[in-house]
Symmetry: C2
Subunit: 328 residues, 2 copies
């Protein structure tokens, strides 16, 4: 039914179609017409609605296409399959099921919309239709389990480098371990879900959410002080396929370097891109609160925090907040 | 139908019941009777079969009971729920589904039989009905991902200590990382499946298979040179509930020590119980073959291998085989 309403409105791009005409043509009530319009709006279609004249289609959401993505990724060999969905609960769930069914490394799941996008620590992730990049990449690194957290840091480096290029001249930095920030506000989130047998990684699902073309009214009020989008910062929309391709290209390069030469280079670049270092910080770890100044990463990928007595403490897992700020 | 055959044979413990009588009484063919007898044998029932006299029930399999287990575990607080199954594909699969549905730490899944028991690296695990302990324990350690492999070593220490007590005076040792051996033959396997979000463990499923009362004809021919059971080594059957309880009690103690005081003690005890140290060894790692002599564990739980040039190499993941032996 949504498609039939769209068809009728597309034939009528200059003028309006009244709710009455739509309801007659489609044999549904005017309330039903209104409900379908709302549903289309949620998918990114924009309408002008006039009580007197009816509805007019103003703009359609830009859609990702597998063909376009494949063309932009033709120089890479990492991506073996792209699964593009209109709406899913969470691309992580889809990718996880595929990985359990032996999907190869390089299977990429993308959705225009997530209805239950997942962030770190069970938090929700705002992922409205057509506005952002919500994707999950299946990886099968031949790595011991210990090193999975290095992949988290690598993914942040790849995404930061990709966004700095496509969204230049925005100043984008990494908050430990893997959030990307512009002026202290979050523009993307990374969630790596790892599954291991004993000391051997079976697979890793790298989930990436990027707030590309979201506008202020896409966010719940309470998130506006801490979240932003590339569009809001740049003042213009960006092409999502370009960003996906830029990320995959960066990721593939770093992933190859990492697998061949280890964590050294990734660590150095992470430190260079980080906005979490050399500032007094409070870290809520599973075993208690640590106050100190992060000065870098150690060889394993742990955050090295300088304590008041001058000693260095490696932190493997924590929530970080500025010392002067109690906002979680 | 299996139950009705059992009933009839149980009423007749002194004498035999002929296939003809059984087939008449149950209104099934004599071939069908024979098939049901085979099925019951697979479940651990033993029959004497005489062409002239028919069948006689000799012994029933010993069954685990939740009540008996709970009584034996009354001194511990780790176990929150026991799920006892007659036959499952794999207790790991069941426990994993429970963990995804938020089952608490201490959920213990036990099966009399596994039809697709899983071992390390996707290998099958022989788990006939009533003869062994096939179980999976849900853990939710508040640990960074990096430390999951320490839990693998801890589980091996707990199981080795438990078996040395209940199956004294057998000489049981740990082969790196977590197989238990008697005289070079495997008597148990441990498989820890970990799931993590970024650097944080979500849950760990500790799968434990113990060949308690298996007899030689329970194994495929080709496994006999490398596998054995406690019964085959001791010359008498053991009570499975006692072994489960002994393991849980050991595990709980070590797990508490580990969470409060770290890996130090576990490492020392693992080294003391290991049969993998101080012997020239070949290690097949994901990045190539390493030849050297393991001398202990490092702080992270990696195996420290002394190379020919005297340097120490930490090994995180490998398959180990004696240098003079090409058996994989």
């Amino acid at each position: 039914m949504d498609n039939r309403i769209l068809e009728l409105l597309e034939q009528q791009t200059e003028g309006y179609l009244s709710g009455e005409v739509l309801s007659k043509d489609l044999h549904i009530s005017r309330t039903a017409v209104w409900k379908h319009i709302k549903k289309l709006e949620a998918q990114g279609y924009k309408f002008e609605a006039s009580r007197r004249l009816g509805y007019r289609l103003i703009s359609k959401p830009s859609k990702l296409s597998i063909q376009e993505l494949m063309e932009k990724l033709s120089g890479t060999s990492l991506i073996k399959a792209i699964k593009l969905h209109e709406s899913v609960d969470s691309t992580q769930n889809i990718a996880q099921r595929l990985a359990e069914d032996d999907a190869p490394q390089g299977t990429l799941v993308i959705a225009e919309q997530q209805t239950s996008g997942r962030g770190r620590m069970g938090r929700k992730w705002v992922s409205p239709s057509g506005k952002g990049i919500w994707m999950s990449l299946v990886l099968r690194p031949r790595l011991p389990l210990q090193f999975a957290s290095q992949l988290t840091l690598l993914t942040a480096v790849a995404l930061c480098r990709a966004l700095k290029t496509v969204a230049a001249p925005l100043d984008i930095g990494i908050k430990w371990p893997n959030d990307l920030l512009i002026g202290g506000k979050k523009i993307s989130g990374i969630l790596l879900e790892s599954t291991a047998e004993d000391e051997r990684l079976k697979y890793v699902i790298a989930g990436i959410g990027i707030s590309v073309n979201l506008e202020a009214d896409d966010y719940p009020e309470e998130l506006l002080p801490i979240a932003t989008s590339l569009r809001m910062e740049l003042g213009r929309p960006l092409d999502r396929a370009d960003i996906i391709a830029a990320f995959i290209i960066e990721f593939e390069q770093l992933y190859n370097v990492y697998q061949n030469e280890g964590f050294g280079l990734i660590r150095t670049v992470w430190e260079a891109l980080s906005v979490s270092l050399f500032k007094p910080t409070q870290l809520k770890t599973p075993t208690g609160i640590v106050v100190g100044t992060p000065i870098g990463l150690d060889e394993s990928g742990a955050l090295l925090v300088k304590l008041e007595d001058g000693s260095l403490l490696p932190i493997f897992s924590a929530e970080m907040s500025p010392l002067s700020d109690n906002r979680s």
